[in-house]
Every structure is written in C-alpha cells, then in structure tokens.
Amino acid sequence: MKRFRSAFPAFASACLAAVIVSAARPQYGGTLRIDTRANIRTLDPAASPSDVVETAASNRIAPLVFEPLVFVDPAGGLKPLLAASWESQAGGKRWRFRMRGGVRLHDGTPLEPWHVATSLRGVESTWTIAADGDAIVIDLPQPRPSLPWELTDRRHAIAVRRTPTEMIGTGPFRIDRIDAGRVWLRAHDSYWSGRPFVDIVQIEMGRSFAAQLTDLEVGRADLIELQPTDARRLTQRGLQVAASRPLDLFALVFEPHRAGSSSEPLRRSLARAFERVALCNVLLQGRAEPAETLLPAWLSGYAPAFAAPAGLPLSRSAIMRLPVDQRTLTLRVEAGDALARSIAERIAVDARESGVLVTVQVPAGLAPRPDVRLVRVGLDATSPDRALARVMAALGSRTVALATNEPAPAIGAPLDVVLRVERALLEASIVVPVAHVPELYGVGERVDEWDAQPVTATGGWNLANLWLKPPAPEARARP
C-alpha cells in the first residue's frame, strides 16, 4: 500500500501541462493596450486625484506599481502582500509588521524595512514608524485595532522616492513614462511573485466610452472601460466582458428645499415609484443590481430589508391631490454621464405613472435649481464601516446633515452601528438608492488570462496574469 503522494502532483502537473501545450500556453511579450476616460497626472500614492474619474483609474493602475503591506482579499479578509505577517500590542497602539523576504524594488535593489518606514512616514506624520530587523514597528497616538484595514488604502502603498520626480515601487510593473495622453508601464523582471507575461502596458487616457468601444472593436485596444448599456453589443460580437462585484452606487439625493419633513411622503413615493428590477434587467442589461441600500449586501453583510426605510408611500390618488408644483420635480444629472441620464429618464417615466412629474435636467451653463440629483458614488471594496464612511464623505456633509445627525461610523465600528447609521441616512428618503453597478470592461480578442480573471471581484486589475495570443497563422501571412 505504498503511497505516491509526492510523486503524483508532479506527474499530474506534467500531463496537464502537456495537454495545455496543445491548446494554448501563456506567452511572454507584447504590449497590452488599455483605454481609460481618466486623465492621470501622477501615480504617486500620496497624491490626491483631481476628480472621481481620475480617482477610479488611479485606484486601479497605482497598485500595479506600488504595493501596500496588506491587501483586501476579494474572497474576504486581509491577505499579506509586502508584509509576511503582523501582530499588535497594547490594544492596537503598537503594531509590528514582519516584511516579506526577497522583494526587489523596480531598480533591482532589495526592499528594506527602512524603505517601508520612510514611505509610510511621508503620509502619516503622527505615527512613529521605525525599522526593526526584518520588520517595521508602528506606534500610534491612539489605539487602532483595524490598522491593517487602513493600510490597504492606496495612499499607504510603499513608494520609494529616488529623485523629487522619480518614484519606484515593488509592483509587477514599473512606470516607464507618463505624458499628456498616455501612461507607459514596463514589466518588473524581478517581481517577487513572478514576472508579468506582457512586456509593456500602454494606457491611453482621455478616451470617451464611445471612442473606447471603437478602439476595442477595430483592435486598437485590448481592455476598455464599458458601460452596462454596451455590454450586450460586445458579447454579441463574441468579445469577453469582465466585471467586478457592484462598486458604483446610483442614488437620488434631494436638495435642501425638498428635504423637509413636509416633503417626506412625496420623497418616499418617488422612492417607490420606479421599478428597480426592470431598470437593472432591461436598461442596464442585467449588469446591475437593484439597490435598496447604500452598500450592496456583499459589502455590508446584511440583507437590504434591515436598512431600507419602513414608511409607506402615498397612493396615486393622494399624489394627484397635491398641488402640481409640489408633485413636480426637476432631476439633475451630470452632463457627461450618459448612463446616469438614461437611468434618470427611466425614473421619470415610471414616476409619471405614479403621479409624480419628473423633468430630467442636464445642465449646460446656467440652469434652474434642481429638486433632486442623481449621483454616482464609487464604493470602496473594504470593511463595511469604512465603506459606509466613504459613501457619506462622497455624498457630502451637507447632504448627510440633511438626512441624519448620526456621524459616520468610527473606523472598526461593529456591524450593528454601521446598520444604524445607514438606516438613519435612508430613513427620511432624502437619499434614495437606485442601483448598484459593477465596474465593467471589454476584453479584446488577443487577450487571454492565466489562472485568474482580468478583473477581480473587488475591482483590481489583474494585468500581471494577462497574456497576448499571437496572431492566427492566416493573419500572420497577410501582408
């Protein structure tokens, strides 16, 4: 009864590999071309992007270059990245992170704990950070039991400044150059987790959704940002659509003059007036989820029914008895957001059925004061306390103050506190969730992936695992 435990995996891998060879084995080399709407000025983790589009793009590109100590595992929990392990003392006032061995910076030199300490000191002036053997020790003015979660933020990624303008990191790609319209990244040959397959990543910036779609279809781009409304067009052409979990919230936000208690029944009626499921299935082509709450359940960890407001809407006859000016609302959407405009128009149609007259306004220059806005809020794939706090920050203090007196949940707050705050935010229907939408990408024909999807559940770009298929023999033969 001799066991072949050790021999079998090797044999199995070998025979599996033999079969893969006949199919397609990942190949090294080539330039992966990506389009984005954003105009990225810098990938410095400590810099603040100028707008939400640049923030979103930077959050995807910067981690390819600069890595944090720990990261949020798309399957849940934290995983070590540059840190191999960590421990806390004094109730979270002192933290010790032991560094992963064998990590090299983009210039080939080993990453040392003092590099990490210097980088973190640059963004956290109140922390005392010191290198200690193969570890760094962080002493905090106040206990932070959830410090590892904070260290997953992009700004805590480790960047080593070689000159005032040149920064290097440890990620799978290094910055080659950034000019007005493009970012060039080059593969980090001695990346600790294995060299990426492609040699170069070329990111074309400032491309509209329509231009990106054309680029993908004519083979000028390999990976593009995609709107849900265009997903079917790509799949019908046999192209792949990659998606994260829902990471965008569309919500209605009432303006102060419509946020009083006297308007609450009408707000509640509008919140119930539109068919979220149909909106997600038809308009958004099944690529979105109806939202009753600010955080989708995969981020909050509770069913939407717990947080959704309990009050009843007005009946249609009750709405029709209201003076016309009271049941007439101007709904504003951002001028450049075609998806938001489509959603707003759908809401307007549904609302009319309920007796609420909604006019969609796309401001171009001066426009009358709106009653309600349709906003798009990016969600952070992180713990529920931090995710809700970010949503509140994005909604703005003015909106939050209209909705509730509750402060944002403290970092590390338990789930019942997160639920209480979210429920308070939604209670008066001043903020009305509409839909949760994933980040979508169109993937070109020559892109293949090894061992993982191009985009993770939490939205990360898995570019190190992408490889480019060589042209088919007949295509190569063409002049």
Binding site: F8, A12, G77, P148, A303
Partner: protein, 408 residues
Amino acid sequence: MEVLSCAAVGFHGRAPFPRTAACAVLILLGGATVRGQRASFEDLASELAAKIAAVVAPAGAVFVTSIPVDAADEAPLRQVAREVARVLTARGDRLVAAEAAAVVVTVGCSTNLRERACLAEVRRADTRQVVSASKADDGRTSADADPILALEAVPLFAQRAAILDVAPLGDRLLVLDPAAITLYSRADEGWRRVESRAIGQARVWPRDLRGRLRVSGRAIEAFLPGAVCRGPVDLSGLTCVDEREPWPLAVDNAGIDAARNYFQTPEGVSFVGAAALGADGDARWALADPSGTLMLMDERRKPLGAIGSSDDVAGLTARCRPGAAYLLASSRTIRGAAERVDLQADTDTLRLLRVVGRRLLTAATPLVLPGRLTALWAAPGAGVATVVAHDAGTGRYEAFQVSISCVR
C-alpha cells in the same frame, strides 16, 4: 489554476493509468473549486441569542423570523433562528404568530469583506433595536480556516472476480465476492490468502450483484440480495441463510430483493445508495434513485425533490471539518475528458459534494476511476469509503479506500 487543482488530488499507489485519468478530468472539470462553500454561522448563534435576550423583556410573546441575503444562506440562518428561539423559550418567552407578538425578532446572517456576521432587529411597538454578533474573517482565506479538500484514493486489493465489498482489519483483509468470503493477511508481496468460505452455491444472483460486509468486533456479517451470512472473522463456522435483512446503510431500509439491485425505504422509495446529511436545513438524507437522480429526503423520509444526478452515493466526513457531511457521488466520466488522454470512455468519476440549503456544491476536484464503479459503501459517519471499480480493459476489479484529505 488547473495545475493547482491537479496537485490537490491524490490517487495513490496506481500505475500511470488512473493518474492520467485524474488529469483528464481535471482539464474538463478544473473549474470546480471549494470557493462555492457558504459560510456557517453556528458559532455566532449563542452570542446573538444572548444579546437578543438582553433586550427582550422576559416572559413576553415573541415572533422570530429571518431574512436571508440569498437563498444559499437560508439553511444556516434557520439554524441561528432556531437557537434564538430556543434561548428565548428557555427563559420563559412564548413563541407566537406574528399577529399575536408583542416583540418581533428578525434575524439575518451573511458575510462582508471584514467578517461573518449575524444581525437581529428587535421590534417592539414603534421602537427598533439592532444587535449583532460577528467574527472577523481575517483568516478566512488562511489554510486554517479554509482548508482545501481533496479526494484521496488508496488501492487495497485487485482480482479478476467481481469484488462486492472489502473490510480491512489491520493487517488482514476480508474480501466479499459472488462466490466466497476470503480472508487475506498482509505479506511482503501483497496479500496472502488465509481462509475462504464459499457462499451461495445454490443461489442465482442478480446480474448486478451487490454485497456488503459489516464487521462488529470479532463477528462478521455479509449482506447479499435475499441472504445474509454470519460468522466469526476467521470464517470458521460461517453460515448463510435466505433472509431479507436491512443493510447497514445511512437510511432505514428493507434490504435488497433477491432478484434486484436496489433498496427500498420503509415507505417504499427505491434507491441504490444513500448518505446522511447534517442537521442544518430540512434535508436529512440524499438518495441516488435507480434512474440516476440524486434526491433529498426530510426527517420523515419524505422526498423533497431532485438536486442533481448520480449513479450512486455515500456519505463521507472530513477530519478537518467536524460536523460537515459530504457526499461521495459517482457518475459517468465526460466522454471528451477520457478521450483526450486516451482513456476508455467507459469510466466513472467520483465527485465530492456538499448540500447547502437545497443546492449541491462541489467541494473537491473530481476523481476519475479506472473503470466503471461497481460498489460504493461507507458506514454512517465514516471518514473512509470503499470504492470498487471494474476496469474492462484489463478485466479486473479493484477496491480502493477513498477519504477526504485536507490541505492546510
């Protein structure tokens, strides 16, 4: 991914044939992972119940309900709701219908990126209070919390005659075949025959003969269609009688009729194999019926519906996941997988499955057998199953011990 999956499977002590076969299946079925497993909330139930009890006045009329985030959370959530109800009734609260309740407790459990959590809303007149219990999932992806399960097959014995069942007894082995029960002892070169007793010379067995061995201390029983043989382990004085006895299976049964190959429950439901399920959810058993349907049955052995297909099924437990019940189910190997690595298409595949709610989830990479499965037996609650496969190419039957190995 495929390479990792392949490496996670062990098929031990075999010539290249089954190893190649295992690879073939991995290529086609390599997408199956353990990631589909749902979180359990059992460990949060007591804490949540205690917190609810702290905010509900004793001796009140309470209605307990639950809201799952998705269908797969239903079964574990029901378990938590039951624990809440138990704690409340134990201290004098009355469980009543919603209309008669002074307090409504709504329970929900799910996961987020930070934790597994259970919440309860306690609603009393116009007031709503929320309590929660959670467990950080920082280690959810670590090996300790989420071991990778793999099917491990150890070859035990092979012969040209059909093997109905085998029973390892330390360094001895009992083998039941259509003609005899034979006792072997371990020798350098393999197994040495010690004793053999003929069975059923005067009997006409069904074409698809099935048999089962049960060893209790120093006594053995051999169950056959319409017959039972009994005697000591050394086979002296073994006697066989014509009687239809219940077989030692996971579910109550009336044995196999002398001319058939399937069992029946006391209620008359026919099945070829059965596995007991855990206590979470309303299903208590999974049964493979003679048509190849895998169906669930409740505690009164009432069918709850089909959840998949399987030619045979047995229950299995994993040491690294105490309390969790797994199904070892067999089905025909996908033709393409066999052909791609020059296997005969006439082979079966073993799958390790879990029943969550009323869904089947794959728990490990499937394992290709070196032929058609002819026997699949496991004692209730056992960590090892006996699998016999018939390799038509070599014309021999081979018995394996299959267990779940946990890779941490």
